[in-house]
Structures are given as structure tokens and as C-alpha cells.
């Protein structure tokens, strides 16, 4: 064993507490970084890998066969890599044995080709009439298996012979080209790959080139691979900026605390350095001792942190990427490599400056050096404080940070970051909660009443719920009855239609509202609420994922009818596949359809049970739904992650304070012993040391709180953008004066909690031992 190793190992054992602090801090920080990097990598990698393997379509386009022909489409595509045209039909399975929504079925002779090479992961390709292959991600489960017979009235019975996966989502199912003709195709599908398609502008340019020369109105709709990717990764994308910020915070806190610990170790070890040099250690060896001393806990913490990051991040990432059929998730090697190599490198970098100081320190100076620094500023501050009316233990504590400004600055920085983390996490939690309440209200002020099954959808029978709802009164009479129930404040009738939006497999539900929409309908963010037939309002995610904007027109197909709808407004809701329309539109699309549900708002103070009973008495066929659980899995995960990360980084910051107090108390053993010898009580010693950190905590709180608010204002829009939600005022305006005041005090809490244990330990130092061991 080399002399350097022996000396370093001895130092590790002698400074066991600091060794543990370094290890824990590095472990927590590494775990946070691994989670953040792992999520970042996993968010894009499955889609990109599958897209590259399948030569996914950069653009899927739907054309009207009445206005263009196969030859025209092939000719327009020119030299561009393309597949198709594939005749495409829509199957409404709502009256089938198993409801699979509206299926987009394309006629393809084989799964290969230059674009959208399908992966058949179970069964085989459809080669004969009466056979169908369903689009399903590998490993996905469903109620249909091989051999299942899909029966739709008026159409041939189709037997499932295989499951394939199209990462582009070019269709829900495939049959032979001959078979699709029997399914009455209404669209011609073309799939394109462009030389450059990294941006929306490049995709648009490609679209322009492949549709040039086609008759006007031939193009019904398109679906860009960027939209598909955004949609596929949007839920996971919400986490990325959030976790990256926390990961970076963890990293910075770790570096600060390690720098603090190591520089403290050098200062506290002056005599040790002198002795090493006196024994014949070269300056380089002294530096090596200090670097090895820090590397031991850093490497151990890093390995444990990497393991913890892999273990804790995986369930979150697995949930998010299961849509790609990823059954066995493992982070890319670079994630763990960066953590395992980068973190110790950072720690050693932080240790380098004090280690170089140790290297340069002359032996004689090291051996005779005092243990505390006394700058002119520190002395002036102590003199001023001694004249104040503060209790002496408090005034002495307030002056303590000025004795070692460098250490105090590092500790202050850790506290600032800790408070910033708490402020940020609190803000994110409040934003998510407020947004969730807005888009998924718990409906505490209203009841939801079902009058029957949604039109066009099969009636779902649930034995536990008894008979399905079936209104006894007419739609008009039910609304009238509901308005007459004592306590009713507003009533809104709801109906819906399942539709297909032209371009790819884009199903959407059109919700039709009637009555007190302004009181009970979704909040309109831009534009206006639809006020006539042919108008719709949509969520911004609907626009983002389809590359649309207010004023654009979309083509939707409901049952056998195709119609064009103009987008007139953007509403706040989390479901990107919902379109909102006025009741007049329903009268055009499906005349005579009754409301299948009502929302009834009651006045404050109304007893929910009595109100519900009165509705049941008015129409026994109605069913009042129980109150909703307003939480979403994404919101729960983000809020949980906020809490966990706040606790981890808050604890890391408190560990920094803990370490500083340990160093201060060790350096000031003699002073503390003397103070006790002249009558300072253990409680006063605890107050002295806690005050020294509490002062830093107060400053840290006052600095960290506004910084946290500022980061929140930058981070939340990024999260909203990644999640394709609007950065509306609900998300941004969450901090209020009482909360800010409490957050500013978080620094004091972190500092005092970190200081308390070592301060109490110092308060019970043996005076006799301290004062007589000079």
C-alpha cells in the first residue's frame, strides 16, 4: 500500500462525519442527474429508433379520390421517396361486438416498401380477402387476439391474422388492396419521406413539392412525423425541463458542498499537512492525499447514486414509454457513464483548489498555523455586535460567519440553492395543481347527470351499476326539470359525436354544448366560443399536434358524413382529441339527437345528497355520477417528484450547513470551551452556532426565494410547451404574499435544521478536555 493511500485512508477514517456528508451529497446529486438524463434520453430514443428502423413517413397525406387519381399522385411525388397511394376506408365499430372506435383501414399489398416498413410482431400479413392486420405496439394488450372476427353491419367480416406496428401511425389496420375496395374507401393515402424533414418548415416545403400540380381541394389533410413525435413524447416531455433543472441544481449544490467540505478539511488539517511534509511527503503527494481522501466517498456516493437513479427513474420512464411497446427499459450507456465518470470528476475539480493550497503550504507555516482566520472585517463586525443589546450568544453567533468568509459564501450558496429549489418545487406543484383543477375540475360545485349512452357508442354495461341510464323524459323536459330543482344555479346539456379528422389516424370527439355554457363550459383562451354551425373551438394541443391555428378549417368525418369545420377559438382542456361545438352544429350533423348528459351547478350551501335525490325524483331514468377524482397521473407524478426532489435537495443543502457547523465547531472548540468555562450554558452554545447559520439562512432565503420565482417563470412555460399545454396565467400566477413570506423563511429552516445536531453536539463538549489539550 502506498504512503499516499495510507495517509488518505487514515484521513478518511479520522474525518468520518465529513466523509459520510460527501458520500450522501454526491449520492443524492448523482441520482437526480441520472433520472434527468435518463428521462431525456428515453423521451426521444424509442421513437427515433423505431422511426429510423421503419423508415417512417415524414408526411402522411389524405387525398380525395374524387378529385385526383393514383397516377396524378405518383406523378406529383416525382423522385421523392413515397409509398401509396393506398385506398383508405373508415370502419365505424360502434355497433360491433367489441368497440374499437373508428378504424382507419388501408389497403396494402405488403408491409414493406420504401416508406413505413411495418413490423409484424405477431401473426402474418393479410394476403386474402376477409383478413385484417391490426396496428398495435409490440407487447401491447387488447381484447382482440389472432383469429378474432371483426363484424361491422353492411361490411364483410374480417379475421385478424396479425399485429403490426407503424410508428408513423399511418393506419389503424391493413387489408389487401382488393379487400379495401369492398370496404368503400373514401380516401387515398400517400406516405412520403423527404431528404430534409427536421423542421416544420422543411416538412411544409416537402408537402408543397409533392402536392404541386394537383387539383384544388384534392388534399384533405396531412400528418407530419414531427406532430406524431410530439404527441408520442409530450407526456414525458413535461418532465424533462423540470427534472433537468432539479438535476442541475443537485449538481451545483453537490459541487458547492464538496468544495466547502474539502477546503474545510484542508484548513482544519493544517497541522496534518505540516506533519506529512515533515515526514517527507512531497507537495505532489500531499495534494494527492487530499484528492484521494475526497475521491473515496465521492466514488462510493456516485456508484450508489447511479444505482438509485436507475432504480427510481425506471418506473416513471417505463410508464411514459410503454406506448412504444418497450417492455424492458434500460438507460443508454452514456447516461450511466456520464454519471459515473462526470460526477467524481466534478468533485475532484472542486477539491483541486484547496488541494493545491495544501500542496503549496510550507511545512513550518502549516504546523504553526492557527485554526481560525481573523479578517479586519470580521473583527469590526464582532466589535459592533458586542455593543448591541442582543443576547451575547446571539450577537457572537451573528459575527461568526464573517470569520471565514469563503466558507460562509459556499454555505450561503448552498442555502440559496436549497431555498430556490423549495420555491421552485412549491411553485411547480401549485402550477400543476391549479392547471389540473382548471382542466380536470373536481366538480365540487356541480353534479353530472347521465341521460343515456353517448350517441354512436355502445352502451357499456356494468353489473355493479345496475341498469344503464335511460331518461324517462324528453331532452327538453329533462332540462326544464333540472332548472326547476331547488338550488340549481346553471344547467348545460352535452352530446357528442365520434369523428375522424382527415390525415392519418386522427380520431376526435366533438362535444356539443347547450345552455349555460359560459358558466359550465371550458374556459375560452383565445378567439370565441362557437356560435353557429360549422364552427368549433379546440384545445391548443389539438392545434399544436396538427400544425393548425385559429381560423383554419379541418375536415371531419362522422359516420358517413364529411364536413368542414372552422376553428374559431382555443379552450382550456387537457384532452387534445376533443373538439367543442355549439348545439346548432349538432342539429346540422345529427338532427334530433338528444343530450346524453347534463351538468348542473348548484348554489353554495346546497346539500349534494338532497339535490341528487331531487333530480332522481324528477326523472328516475337519469343517473347522477359520483363526484370526480380530479387528479391526473402526470400531475400526481410531477407533484410527487417535486416533493421528493425538494426533500432531497433541501436535505443536501442542510447537509452543507451541517458540515459547516461541524467545521466551525471543530475549529472553535477552544473558544466554545472557554465560553462554557465562564458560564455559557449548553443552550446558549446551541443558540450561538444555530444563529450563525440562521443568519446565513435568512440571507439565503431572501436571495433564493426571488431566484426560485424567476426560474419558475422560465421553467413552467418550457414545461407547458413540452407538454403542449398553454402557459396560461393559471400556471404562472401562483405565488402570493403569504406563501412568498414563508418561502423566504425556508432558508432559516434549512439552516437551523442543518445546524441543530452539530450545534447540540458542540454544546456538550467536555470543557476539561478541550481546554487542557493545548
Amino acid at each position: 500500500m502506498s504512503a499516499v493511500w495510507s495517509a488518505a485512508w487514515a484521513a478518511v477514517r479520522r474525518r468520518l462525519l465529513q466523509t459520510i456528508v460527501i458520500g450522501v451529497v454526491v449520492c443524492a446529486s448523482t441520482a437526480t442527474i441520472v433520472m434527468a438524463l435518463g428521462l431525456l434520453e428515453s423521451a426521444a430514443a424509442p421513437f427515433d429508433r423505431a422511426f429510423a428502423t421503419q423508415r417512417g413517413a415524414h408526411l402522411a397525406a389524405a387525398f380525395d379520390p374524387a378529385k385526383t387519381s393514383d397516377d396524378q399522385l405518383r406523378k406529383a411525388a416525382g423522385q421523392t421517396e413515397s409509398a401509396g397511394p393506398f385506398a383508405q376506408s373508415t370502419l365505424d365499430t360502434s355497433t360491433g361486438e367489441i368497440f374499437k372506435g373508428t378504424l382507419t383501414v388501408a389497403g396494402r399489398a405488403d408491409p414493406g416498401g420504401p416508406v413505413d416498413r411495418l413490423t409484424i410482431w405477431e401473426g402474418r400479413w393479410a394476403t386474402a380477402p376477409g383478413e385484417i392486420v391490426l396496428n398495435r405496439a409490440p407487447g401491447g394488450n387488447g381484447r382482440t387476439n389472432l383469429g378474432f372476427q371483426l363484424t361491422v353491419p353492411g361490411r364483410p367480416t374480417l379475421t385478424v391474422v396479425g399485429f403490426a406496428h407503424s410508428v408513423t401511425g399511418s393506419a389503424d389496420a391493413w387489408v389487401t388492396p382488393e379487400q379495401v375496395e369492398a370496404l368503400q374507401p373514401t380516401v387515398l393515402q400517400m406516405l412520403y419521406r423527404f431528404p430534409n424533414a427536421g423542421t416544420a418548415a422543411e416538412v411544409a416545403e416537402g408537402q408543397k413539392s409533392v402536392t404541386a400540380g394537383l387539383p384544388e381541394g384534392a388534399l384533405l389533410g396531412t400528418l407530419s412525423h414531427l406532430t406524431v413525435k410530439d404527441k408520442a413524447t409530450s407526456e414525458l416531455g413535461v418532465f424533462i425541463p423540470f427534472l433537468l433543472i432539479f438535476g442541475v441544481l443537485g449538481l451545483v449544490v453537490a459541487v458547492l458542498i464538496v468544495a466547502n467540505v474539502v477546503s474545510g478539511a484542508v484548513v482544519a488539517g493544517f497541522r496534518h499537512i505540516g506533519m506529512l511534509k515533515a515526514l517527507g511527503f512531497t507537495p505532489g503527494q500531499v495534494m494527492a492525499v487530499y484528492l484521494v481522501m475526497v475521491s473515496i466517498p465521492a466514488v462510493a456516493g456516485c456508484v450508489l447514486g447511479t444505482l438509485a437513479g436507475n432504480v427510481f427513474a425506471k418506473p416513471i420512464v417505463q410508464d411514459a414509454v410503454e406506448g412504444f411497446g418497450v417492455t424492458e427499459l434500460s438507460f443508454a450507456p452514456w447516461v450511466n457513464a456520464v454519471a459515473l465518470l462526470g460526477m467524481p470528476a466534478l468533485v475532484i475539480s472542486a477539491a483541486l483548489v484547496p488541494a493545491i493550497r495544501a500542496r503549496r503550504l510550507p511545512a513550518a507555516q502549516a504546523i504553526s498555523a492557527g485554526t481560525t482566520a481573523h479578517s479586519g472585517r470580521a473583527l469590526r463586525v464582532q466589535r459592533w455586535l458586542s455593543g448591541t443589546p442582543l443576547p451575547r450568544s446571539v450577537s457572537l453567533g451573528l459575527g461568526l460567519p464573517f470569520a471565514r468568509l469563503g466558507r460562509s459564501a459556499l454555505t450561503l450558496a448552498a442555502v440559496v440553492l436549497g431555498v430556490m429549489t423549495v420555491t421552485l418545487a412549491t411553485g411547480v406543484t401549485m402550477s400543476i395543481t391549479a392547471y389540473n383543477d382548471a382542466v380536470r375540475p373536481s366538480y365540487a360545485d356541480r353534479v353530472e347527470v347521465l341521460a343515456g349512452g353517448p350517441p354512436g357508442l355502445p352502451v357499456m354495461r356494468n353489473p355493479e351499476m345496475g341498469e344503464p341510464p335511460a331518461a324517462a323524459l324528453s331532452d327538453a323536459d329533462d332540462e326544464k326539470m333540472l332548472r326547476a330543482v331547488p338550488g340549481t344555479a346553471a344547467v348545460m346539456a352535452v352530446s357528442q359525436l365520434e369523428t375522424e379528422v382527415a390525415g392519418g389516424t386522427q380520431n376526435a370527439t366533438v362535444l356539443f354544448y347547450r345552455g349555460d355554457v359560459s358558466a359550465l363550459g371550458p374556459r375560452v383562451l383565445t378567439g370565441h366560443w362557437p356560435d353557429g354551425p360549422g364552427q368549433v373551438a379546440v384545445p391548443s394541443r389539438f392545434l399544436n399536434q396538427r400544425g393548425l391555428s385559429v381560423g383554419d378549417t379541418i375536415t371531419v368525418q362522422a359516420k358517413e358524413n364529411r364536413t368542414q369545420l372552422k376553428i374559431v377559438g382555443v379552450v382550456l382542456t387537457n384532452n387534445e382529441d376533443q373538439i367543442f361545438a355549439d348545439w346548432t352544429a349538432l342539429n346540422v350533423l345529427a338532427p334530433g339527437t338528444r343530450a346524453h348528459a347534463y351538468q348542473v351547478k348548484f348554489t353554495p350551501g346546497t346539500d349534494r345528497a338532497s339535490f341528487t335525490a331531487a333530480i332522481g325524483k324528477g326523472d328516475p331514468g337519469l343517473r347522477v355520477l359520483p363526484p370526480r377524482d380530479g387528479s391526473s397521473s402526470t400531475a400526481v407524478i410531477i407533484i410527487s417528484a417535486s416533493v421528493v426532489l425538494t426533500l432531497v435537495l433541501g436535505a443536501v443543502a442542510a447537509l452543507g450547513v451541517f458540515n459547516t457547523v461541524v467545521l466551525n465547531a471543530r475549529e472553535r472548540r477552544r473558544d466554545l470551551g472557554m465560553l462554557k468555562s465562564i458560564g455559557m450554558t449548553p443552550r446558549q452554545v446551541t443558540v450561538l452556532l444555530s444563529t450563525s447559520m440562521g443568519a446565513l439562512g435568512l440571507v439565503g432565503g431572501l436571495v433564493g426565494m426571488p431566484v426560485g420565482v424567476a426560474v419558475h417563470q422560465l421553467l413552467v412555460p418550457a414545461m407547458a410547451h413540452a407538454g403542449q399545454a398553454d402557459a396560461v396565467d393559471i400556471l404562472m400566477d401562483v405565488y402570493h404574499a403569504p406563501a412568498l413570506a414563508l418561502l423566504a423563511l425556508a432558508g432559516v429552516v434549512i439552516a437551523v435544521l442543518g445546524a441543530l445536531v452539530p450545534a447540540r453536539g458542540a454544546a456538550h463538549l467536555s470543557i476539561a478536555t478541550v481546554l487542557h489539550n493545548e
Binding site: R392, D671, S677, I678, R683, I767
Partner: protein
């Protein structure tokens, strides 16, 4: 001499993990006495001083100072006892390096709740009595050894303790400074300050003490009353 008992030690025993520091020590110090405790290194004399100052607790036996049984006090009680009941002088002065000489002395009074202005006033009086008024704003690092010990004495006297304890008060001083400190202690005792010294220095003992107690192997080997040399 006043016959009031200031310190009454009975059958004191202090054990450490692998040794016995004090073994059945009994000692009485009366008000106005100056007692020097002497003995070789490791004999137990510093341990005895720690017990009287309430800095350490005995394994058995009792220490009563001014009628207070120190064994009955908890840590806070002992701190309050040290604050009011005793003053201590150490070999290495134990001044706070980041407080001026004046603030070091005033600190002892401030701990009792005395306002800073009053504490400084009392400290200035002591600086005058000890002849170091011109050093009041100097920090310990820039004081000579003798001056530091005088500041330490002033701090010890700040709360007018009934008992002044000194642990090798001249041990870290040159001979001239040592002489000055000896004179100071003698003067204090002559105006009625009860004094208990622990020292190796026979000259200090014979000059300042009225009685010498010799401790060997944790026991009192000899007690001797002295005629002071000055």
C-alpha cells in the same frame, strides 16, 4: 482570616477508562485563603481543579462550593454556577481572538444579562486596576503573554467571583511576565480574594499561596501552611 468555607471536598474519586485520577481526596478551602495545589504531571491536580470548577464530574464523593453541591446541578446549573460563583485563569489564556481585549472581558458580564455599556464600564475599571487600560482595544493576537494573562484575570474577576481558580497561570509566560502575574495574584489575595492555584512552579506557590497541597497519584500526599515570601 475569615473562617467561612468556600470549597469543601469530601472523599473525591475520579476514574477514567483505564486509570484513577483522584482517589479519596478531601480538601477544604476557606474564604480569603490562597491554596496552591502542586504535584508531578499526571498526579491529578488539574482533574481536582476541574471538579471544583464544575468542568467535570466526579465518579464518587462530593464537591461543595459556597454551600452548593455541584453534584446536584445539571449542565445548565453548572454553567450558571461558573458564571457567578468562580473565575478561571488558564495557562494558555483562552481569549477569543476575534474580540478586542475589552470585549473579551465584558463578555463575562454580558453573559449574565448585563447591558453592553455597563459591562464595558466595569471592564474599564478592571483594566485600570490591572494597569492595562491602554491595551483595551487591542486584539489578543497583538498582546504580549503577560498582557493576555492580565486580560484573562480581568475577565475572571468581572462578575466578582468568590473563588478564583488558576491553572498554571504562569506556565506559558516568560519570567518577567510571570513575575507580574504573580504580583497580581498576590495583590488580589491580599484584598480578600480566595484563590486556588494549580502549578508546577514552586516559586509561584511559595510567593502567592498561604497553603500548599501536594497531590501524588491521585491522593493528597502533604499539606503545608506557608509564610509568604513577599
Amino acid at each position: 482570616m475569615n473562617n467561612d468555607v468556600v470549597v469543601a471536598i469530601t472523599d473525591l474519586r475520579k476514574e477514567y477508562a483505564d486509570s484513577v485520577a483522584l482517589n479519596g481526596v478531601s480538601l477544604t478551602v476557606r474564604a480569603g485563603e490562597a491554596v496552591a495545589v502542586m504535584g508531578p504531571s499526571g498526579s491529578g491536580k488539574s482533574t481536582l481543579l476541574n471538579m471544583i470548577a464544575g468542568l467535570d464530574r466526579p465518579t464518587s464523593g462530593s464537591v461543595v462550593v459556597h454551600g452548593t453541591d455541584l453534584g446536584s446541578l445539571d449542565e445548565t446549573g453548572l454553567a450558571l454556577f461558573r458564571r457567578r460563583g468562580i473565575g478561571m485563569i488558564f495557562q494558555f489564556f483562552n481569549l477569543l481572538d476575534d474580540l478586542s481585549a475589552l470585549d473579551n472581558v465584558a463578555l463575562a458580564a454580558q453573559l449574565t444579562g448585563t447591558p453592553a455599556s455597563q459591562a464595558r464600564k466595569r471592564a474599564l475599571e478592571l483594566f485600570g486596576e490591572l494597569g492595562i487600560s491602554n491595551r483595551r482595544n487591542i486584539y489578543p493576537a497583538r498582546l504580549s503573554g503577560g498582557e493576555r494573562q492580565r486580560v484573562a484575570v480581568a475577565r475572571a474577576l468581572m462578575n466578582r467571583p468568590a473563588l478564583l481558580l488558576a491553572d498554571e497561570p504562569t506556565g506559558a509566560l516568560d519570567s518577567r511576565s510571570g513575575e507580574q502575574v504573580m504580583d497580581l495574584l498576590l495583590d488580589l489575595n491580599q484584598i480578600g480574594q480566595t484563590l486556588l492555584l494549580v502549578t508546577h512552579d514552586e516559586r509561584l506557590a511559595t510567593r502567592c499561596a498561604s497553603r500548599v497541597v501536594e497531590v501524588v497519584d491521585g491522593r493528597i500526599a502533604r499539606e503545608q501552611s506557608l509564610e509568604r515570601t513577599s
